[in-house]
Subunit: 756 residues, 2 copies
C-alpha cells in the first residue's frame, strides 16, 4: 500500500478488522434472497416473449389457470395503465409488457403454483398470440433509414433542430468548450479512431430472487436482494399504484449487483401474484433469465479524435458516442459524454452522445456506467500518441492530468483529486519496470469516475451494556458494514467489534438511496458520523448529569466523558458507565443522521497490465496487474483493495471474453456461464492494488467512493498491452482469442515491441 | 360511553379506526412465534423435573446424544455459573436448573433433533439422577417450624431484627402511617377477615415459542413472542454471558401475555442448542408445559382489618399479606403492600407483607400483580361495613375515596385521578338500579392500579409520498399500534391510515422496556409524540426553505405548513409536497423520541356485578356487568373498552373457577384448558364498559394506562354479589360451585337479600 499524503492517525479508521458479516458468509449461513422459504409459499414463474419485437394480440390464461396447483395468473392487465409520458413508463412496461414486447425474454405474464414444476407447466400453457414485428438488433440497424421504430412516442430529446418524427434515438447530449476546429488546426499530431463494443452482463453470482407476502389488508412484505430496498419499495409502489406505506422491503444479503440490482424485475409480479393467490409467492430467476431479461451494459459505437502538440500536450478533442440502451432509453449517452474527456486538460473539445434503442434487453447500470468504454477509446488513442511521440505513457498523462480547480466537462471546477498521485504511484512501483519476455506486453491506462452523494440515513442505538447498534439503509455490497462500524468506533471511541452494523429494512431506518455511484461509504458514512456526533453530545450531557457538572465542562476523549472543569478531579465515565445509568439520566440513548450528501470526491485510477499473447491461438494471459486508485481515505483498506481487484477482474473479462451473442432473430445464444465466459480465479494473477489517499475535503474522514473507478482502465490497459505485445491495435470488443489471432494474422504475425 | 369531563376536540385521537393489524389477525395471516419455520431448523424439547424438590445428582446425556436425529443436548453446565448473590440468579436458574430443581416441570436439560418426535424421544432418554427432597407446597407448610428450606442463601430481607438463619421468607415489606391502635380504639365498627387464594395462570392462548439461529460468529437472531423483546435480549445475554450486541430479537405477534410474557423461559435454551448444533432451533411449549413451568399469579393468605366511624368514614386499617412466589422470590408482597389501602383515605394504617417460596412454578406478573387479591380482601370488608351501617356501597366509597393531593401508601401526593368520577359514573348508570330476581345479587367493588412509565423509544420516518412509518419498541398487546398511529396522525395532521405503525426489532428502534404496567400507550405514546414534534419542527424548516421565508413565519396547521408572515399570501404546503422535495431541502425526513417516562397516572375502576346463584348446584351465572374506568384520555376508545372487558373476563374466571390443583407430591393435576377452567364466551354477558376521562396531566394527550386496573375489582364484586344473592360470604378462591354450594348448605340455604 502506498500512501502519498500523510495519513491521519486514527485509532480504528484505516485498520483491517474481520468484517462483521464475514463468518456468516464464509460458513454459508448468510441468507440471500433465494434462501428464504415461507410456510405455504407458492412458486412464481414468468412467461417471457420468444420474440424480439412483437405486438401482443391476446393472452389466454384459461388453460393455465385450470392446471393442477395453479393459484394465480397475472398479465399486464393486473397493473394500472401507465402513459408513455410518465417518467416511470420504461420501468413499468419493462417489468411486464403491455401491448408490445421489445426483446426476447420480455415478461408478458406470470404464474404462481404450489410447486415450481406446476408453475413452469402452467407458464408454458399461457397462450400468447403475437403479431411478430421486424426487430432491430444493432446500433446500425436502429439508425438505418426506414428502420422499424420501437416506440411510437420516442421523439429524440436534445435534437437540434427538434425531432419531427419518432425514431430509435431517445436523446442526444452535447458538451463543448473552446474552439475545436482551431484546436485541431494547431495540433502537431491528430489521431482519430472508431470502436465497437457489444453488451456485457454484470455477471453477479446471485440471480434475482424475492418472496412477497401480500395480506388481505393490502399491505405486502417483500424479501429480496437488491442494491436499494427503498428503491424496490418506491418502484413496486409505482408499478402497483400503491402508497409506499403499504410496502415493506426487507433486504436479503446480496450476491453481487454491480449496478444490475439498482432496478427491479420480479418484485411487483410477486406482490401481485401473492395478492391474487392470498399466499406468499417466491420467485427466483434462472441464469438463463438473468441473461435474457435483466440489464446488461450497453453496446456502443464510439469515435474519438485527439490532437496534441509535439510535446504531448493535448490541444483538442472530439467525441461521437452512440450507446444502445436495449429496448428503452438508457443513461449511457449522458454518462459517456460526462466522462470521455474528464481526466485531461483539453482546452478545445466537442462531445456528442446518442442513446439508441434496439430490440434487446433493457440495459442497466454496470459499475461506472459508460466510462469503461469511453476510456477504451480515449486511453488507446493516448497510447498511440505516446507511441508516435516517443513519450512514456505515464509521462504523457502526467502532462495532461486534471488537478484541483480544473474545469470539468460540464464546467464545474474540480475539488482536490489524486490523479497525479495515482500516476506517480504506478510509475514509482517496481512492477512498472519489471522485465517482459517474448510475446509479452505492457499497457497503461487511466480511469475516472465522478461518484455520487444522494440521500442516506443512519441510526445509532447504545445498548444497556455499552455496546452499540448502527443501522443504515444501504445494502452491504462491498464491506460497508465494516466501514460503518469503523467510523462509528472512531467517533464513539469504542471497539469496532462492540458495534453491530446492520442493514435496516424500509421500516427500520430513514430513507436511503440505492447503493450505487460508489456512494455508500461516502454518504451513508456521513450519516453515521452525524448520528454518532449527536450521540456524543447526548453522552456528554448524561455524563454531566451523573457528575453534577455543566455539560460544557465535559469533553469526549477516547470513548470517555472527561471532566475538564476546575472543580477538582472526577473519574472519567466510559460509555458503558453512562449507558448503565441511562434510565436515570433521561432514558434510552439513540441518535439519527439523515442527509443529502454533497461533495462526493471523484475517483481516479491508473492501471498497468502486463500480459502475454499466444501467437498460435490468440489467447491472452494476464501476467501481472498493477492498479493504483485514490480512495481519499481508506476506511477499511482490505475492502478498498477488494474493490480495486474486483473492478480489474470484471474489466479484464469485458476486455477479453464477455459478449452477448444474438442470432438473427434477436435470440441470445449464450445465456449461461458456460458460454458467456467471465474470468475465473485461474485466469487472473493476484492483482497489486495500490491505495492512494488524497482526502476528500467534503467528507469528515476524507472518503471518496472506490467501488467503480477500478473497472474503467482495464479494457484500454489490456488493449494497449496487446498492442505492446503484438503490434496490433484491436478496437472491437471482446479481444477474444479469435479476434486477436485474426489481428496477428492480418498483420503478418506478431510484431509488437516485445514480439518474438 | 360516559364522559365526565369535557372531551378535548381532537381530530383523530378518540376516533375508532380499524386497527392496522386487524385484518391480518382475523384472516389468520398474522405471524405468531410458532408460525415461523426456518429451512434446516431443528426441534428443541425441554427435559423437565418430575419432582417438586430434589437435588440433581447427575445428568447422563450419552444415550440421548446417540439417538437418531439428535444434534445437540444441553444442561445447566452449558451456561456460565451464576452466584446466588447475583440479582439475576432466580431468572437464570429458573430457565435451567443447576444443582437443584425447585418444582415439578423445572427445566434440567434440552435436546435438539431433526424432528419433534426424535427430540421427544431423546429428551426421555436423558438420564437425570435425583436425590428427592421433601417439598413444601403451601404457605403454611413453608412457614411451619422446621420446614425444609428451599434456598440455603435466602436470608429474609426487611426482617426486623435481621434474619439469622435462612428461611422460606424472602422479604418483608412494611408501610404505616398515623397511630393504628388509637385509630381502631376510636372506631365504631371494626371488621377483620382472613382470605386464602391459590395460584392462577394468565391463560394466554399462545404458548411460549421461539426460533433461534446462532451463527458461528457468535451472533444469534431470536424470533419470539414476548411482552418485551429488549428484555428477551438482555435476559438471554445475561444467561449466556454475552454482550447484548450479539443478540437480535425480532418480535412475533403476541397471542396474549397479561404479564406472563415479561420474563423468559425458552430463548436461552434455543440459542444454546442452536450454537451447539449449528442450525436454527425451534421450541414450542405444550399447554401442559405452560401450566407446569411458566409463571402463575401467586397464591396468598391475607388478613385485613378495617375500622370505621358510624357514618362510614374509615379511621384505621391493618393488613397482613402473605404471597407465595412459587420457587423463587416474587414481587407480590411489595405490590400487595403498595395497593391494599391505596384507594381510600385511611388516616391510621399498618401494612406488613411477606413473600414466601414454595415448591411450585416460579410466579410471574399477571395483570396488576397482587392487586386483585388485596382488593378481594379490602372491598369485601368494605361491603360488610356498608351492610352493617346500612350505607349504599357506592356512597361508602365516595365518602372515603382518595382524590388529588391525598398521600399514597408510600407517602407521595396523588396527582389528579378519576376515582370519584368512576364511582359517580356507575352510580348514575341505569344498570345500577336494574331490578333483580330471586337468587340474584348485586356486588360493588373498586380497584386501583398505579401504572408505570419506564423507557420507550420511537422513530418517525416520512416516506417520499407523504405517508409515514412510526416505529416503536413496544409489542402490541392490546391495540397499541392503532393508538400510536392516532397520536402521530394528530401531531402530523395526516390520516391514521397513511401511517404504518410498526413494532421494530431490537436493531430497528431504540431501547424500549417491556409492555407491562399499562405503560405502552402512555410512555411509548409520549416517545411517539416527542418524535412527531421534532418532525414538525423539521417540516416547518423544510417548508420555509421551499417558500424562501423564515421558519418562524411558518406554522404547522392541520397537516400543512402555513405561512404567517407579512410578505403576501403563499400556498400552504401539505406533508406530501414537502416530502416530495426532501432531497433538495436537506435529505430524508426522520425523527426519534426516546425517554424515561414519568407521571403515569394511576387508574381507578368501579365495577358492579349482577349474578344469579343456582341454589341446587352452586353454579354462578353472571347476568350483567358494569365497569367504569378512568382512561385519562381514550386514544382509541374501542381498545380501552376491550381492555376493560378483558380484565373483567379474567377477573370473573379467577373469582369463580380458576385454580392450580396439586397432588401431595406437588404435581399439577389440571394442566389443560379442559381441567383448568377459564371463562368462555358463553359464560359471560356483554360487559358494559364505561370510559371515564380525567386527563393525566403528565401526558400530552392525558393518557393513563388502562390495561390492568380492570382485573382488580371483579373478584370482590363477584364475592359481594354472591353474598347479596345468598347471604354467604366466601373468602377462599375460587368460588367454585362446590364451594358456593357448601357455603349455602352450611348456612342452611340461600338467604341473601334477594334470596327466594
Amino acid at each position: 500500500m502506498t500512501v502519498t499524503e500523510p495519513k491521519p492517525r486514527y485509532k480504528y479508521v484505516g485498520t483491517r478488522p474481520v468484517r462483521h458479516d464475514g463468518l456468516e458468509k464464509v460458513t454459508g449461513r448468510a441468507r440471500f434472497a433465494a434462501d428464504l422459504n415461507m410456510s405455504g409459499q407458492l412458486h412464481g414463474i414468468v412467461v417471457r416473449s420468444p420474440h424480439a419485437h412483437a405486438r401482443i394480440v391476446s393472452i389466454d390464461t384459461a388453460a393455465a389457470e385450470a392446471m393442477p396447483g395453479v393459484k394465480a395468473v397475472i398479465t399486464g392487465d393486473d397493473f394500472p395503465a401507465v402513459d408513455s409520458s410518465d417518467r416511470n413508463y420504461d420501468m413499468c412496461v419493462n417489468v411486464v409488457a403491455r401491448d408490445k414486447v421489445f426483446y426476447e425474454g420480455h415478461a408478458v405474464a406470470a404464474v404462481a403454483a404450489s410447486t415450481g414444476d406446476q408453475a413452469r407447466a402452467a407458464a408454458a400453457a399461457v397462450v400468447v398470440t403475437y403479431d411478430v414485428l421486424p426487430a432491430v438488433l444493432t446500433i446500425d440497424e436502429a439508425l438505418a433509414p426506414g428502420a422499424p421504430v420501437l416506440h411510437d412516442h420516442m421523439m429524440t430529446s436534445g435534437a437540434n433542430p427538434p425531432a419531427e418524427e419518432p425514431s430509435n434515438i431517445s436523446d442526444i447530449t452535447r458538451f463543448a468548450d473552446g474552439d475545436v476546429d482551431a484546436g485541431f488546426a494547431d495540433a502537431d499530431l491528430i489521431i482519430e479512431r472508431e470502436y465497437t463494443t457489444v453488451p456485457v452482463h454484470q455477471g453477479y453470482i446471485e440471480p434475482h430472487a424475492c418472496v412477497a407476502d401480500t395480506g388481505q389488508d393490502g399491505h405486502t412484505t417483500i424479501w429480496c436482494s437488491s442494491q436499494g430496498h427503498f428503491n424496490v419499495r418506491s418502484s413496486t409502489a409505482t408499478l402497483l399504484g400503491w402508497e409506499t406505506t403499504r410496502i415493506r422491503v426487507i433486504p436479503a444479503e446480496i450476491g453481487g449487483g454491480f449496478g444490475g440490482k439498482t432496478t427491479i424485475y420480479l418484485e411487483p409480479l410477486a406482490v401481485a401474484l401473492s395478492a391474487k393467490a392470498g399466499r406468499p409467492v417466491k420467485m427466483v430467476m434462472t441464469r438463463d433469465e438473468v441473461f435474457r431479461a435483466t440489464g446488461p451494459a450497453p453496446g456502443t459505437k464510439l469515435r474519438v479524435k485527439l490532437g496534441s502538440d509535439r510535446d504531448g500536450n493535448l490541444v483538442a478533442g472530439d467525441a461521437y458516442l452512440i450507446y444502445s440502451g436495449g429496448a428503452y432509453a438508457g443513461p449511457g449517452g449522458l454518462l459517456g459524454a460526462m466522462t470521455v474527456f474528464e481526466s485531461y486538460k483539453i482546452p478545445n473539445f466537442n462531445v456528442e452522445a446518442l442513446n439508441v434503442v434496439v430490440n434487446t434487453a433493457r440495459s442497466a447500470a454496470y459499475r461506472a456506467p459508460a466510462a469503461p468504454l469511453t476510456a477504451f477509446a480515449v486511453e488507446t488513442v493516448l497510447d498511440e500518441i505516446a507511441t508516435e511521440l516517443g513519450i512514456d505513457p505515464i509521462d504523457l498523462r502526467l502532462k495532461n492530468a486534471v488537478t484541483e480547480g480544473d474545469p470539468s466537462t460540464m464546467g464545474f471546477p474540480l475539488a482536490r483529486v489524486g490523479f497525479i498521485e495515482c500516476l506517480e504511484a504506478v510509475r514509482d512501483h517496481p512492477n512498472y519496470n519489471a522485465p517482459l519476455g517474448p510475446n509479452q506486453g505492457r499497457g497503461v491506462a487511466a480511469g475516472y469516475w465522478f461518484n455520487i452523494g444522494e440521500s442516506s440515513s443512519a441510526t445509532v442505538n447504545l445498548n444497556e451494556d455499552g455496546t452499540a447498534t448502527v443501522v443504515t439503509g444501504s445494502p452491504d455490497i462491498g464491506g460497508s458494514r465494516a466501514s460503518m462500524a469503523l467510523m462509528a468506533a472512531e467517533e464513539l471511541g469504542i471497539d469496532p467489534y462492540d458495534i453491530r452494523p446492520v442493514v435496516g429494512d424500509t421500516e427500520a431506518v430513514g430513507f436511503t438511496d440505492v447503493t450505487e455511484g460508489s456512494r455508500a461509504t461516502f454518504a451513508t458514512g456521513m450519516a453515521v458520523v452525524e448520528a454518532c456526533r449527536k450521540m456524543v453530545v447526548e453522552l456528554r450531557g448524561r455524563a454531566a448529569k451523573m457528575m453534577g457538572v455543566e455539560v460544557d465542562d465535559i469533553d469526549w476523549v477516547d470513548g470517555q466523558a472527561v471532566y475538564t472543569g476546575s472543580d477538582g478531579e472526577k473519574d472519567p465515565l466510559p460509555v458503558a458507565a453512562i449507558t448503565a445509568k441511562a434510565k436515570r439520566t433521561g432514558g434510552p440513548l439513540t441518535a439519527t443522521g439523515s442527509l443529502e450528501a454533497h461533495g462526493a470526491g471523484p475517483g481516479f485510477a491508473v492501471h498497468v497490465c502486463d500480459l502475454e499473447v499466444d501467437p498460435e491461438t490468440g489467447v491472452v494471459r494476464i501476467l501481472r496487474y498493477t492498479a493504483s486508485q485514490d480512495a481519499g481515505t481508506a476506511i477499511h483498506p482490505s475492502y478498498v483493495e477488494g474493490q480495486i481487484q474486483g473492478g480489474v477482474a470484471q474489466g479484464v473479462g469485458w476486455a477479453l471474453n464477455e459478449e452477448y451473442i444474438y442470432d438473427s432473430d434477436g435470440v441470445m445464444e449464450n445465456p449461461s456461464f458456460l458460454d458467456y465466459r467471465v474470468p475465473v480465479a485461474s485466469d487472473l494473477p493476484m492483482i497489486d492494488a495500490i491505495i492512494v489517499e488524497v482526502p476528500n475535503p467534503a467528507h469528515p474522514y476524507g472518503v471518496r467512493g472506490v467501488g467503480e473507478t477500478g473497472i474503467v482502465p482495464p479494457i484500454p490497459a489490456v488493449a494497449n498491452a496487446i498492442y505492446n505485445a503484438t503490434g496490433c491495435r484491436i478496437r472491437d470488443l471482446p479481444m477474444s482469442p479469435i479476434r486477436v489471432l485474426d489481428a496477428i494474422t492480418s498483420a503478418g504475425g506478431s510484431n509488437g515491441s516485445n514480439g518474438a
